[in-house]
Symmetry: C2
Subunit: 139 residues, 2 copies
DNA sequence: GTATCTGCAAAACATTTGCAATTCT
DNA sequence: AGAATTGCAAATGTTTTGCAGATAC
């Protein structure tokens, strides 16, 4: 089974019809786990799909998110980032080199009363600081 | 001691010179714990300070954040929100009414090795879901 | 009097919207 | 054909920038 077929099946699982663009975008997210911005996705896919537009990428990502196929990250002020997540994980943003790292999702225990009052759909944990490499370069 | 003096002292503690605008903005953040956007701050302070500009609010908030006097929230996609935080706390965004609630900061325990490799300056925890009031209105 | 701070106007971006053309079934 | 999807061009909204005038030390 080739890549396109495999990605198509995943999208179908989420109730998303697999168009060429959707498969391309989802495949990109799966193979480039760099939490790309819309622009990065556009720049990488554009050469192979010359007619692809930013609008379609926005449409597609909004659709993916609404179906739960991807996670939208707001760790960075300027623009949203996207993650075709397997299992939930936390994110670390290095304020020096702007790279985003995946961290294991720590267990967070909420108050019983809050759990009763609020229906929690999603939990995002963002760390900010200096990454290993940038720490070294400071020395 | 009046409010202006008290706020001025706090700003001085952070190494920020207390101008009229800065004191006004910081005081607003302290007394309105609504995680306001730049626009909300502007709308509320503008009548009392007619010459105040959005640019100054941006400048000021950037300065505050760099000195650690406030926290920048990116829980909402559209615009940044600000918090003159006393102690660290988590945030809950109701996707129904768009209100933001303060939650107690749960203890998150990170892997020893990660703690050694990364210098973590800030931890933000965002919950999204349906708040108490909106849950009731669904029934 | 020099450095800092403010604020206008314009620019820069990211994202959304309206709509016509295209594609799929 | 009819519904869903794509993508151009224009609009919107937030944040940034350049710079001149005002303020503080």
């Amino acid at each position: 089974m080739n890549t396109t077929q495999r990605v198509s099946e995943i999208l179908t699982t989420y109730g998303i019809r697999p168009s060429i663009q959707r498969v391309g975008i989802y495949d990109y997210l799966l193979t480039h786990r760099t939490h790309p911005t819309v622009d990065e996705i556009f720049s990488h896919l554009s050469p192979a799909m010359p007619t692809l537009s930013r609008t379609t990428i926005y449409n597609t990502l909004t659709l993916f998110a609404s179906k739960g196929a991807i996670m939208v990250l707001n760790i960075e002020e300027k623009s949203q980032r996207f993650d075709a997540g397997i299992k939930p994980h936390a994110h670390f943003l290095c304020t020096e080199c702007d790279k985003i790292f995946d961290f294991p999702q720590p267990l967070v225990q909420l108050d019983e009363q809050i759990m009763r009052d609020f229906e929690i759909v999603e939990t995002q944990i963002y760390y900010k600081g200096i990454c290993k490499t940038c720490k070294k370069n400071h020395l």
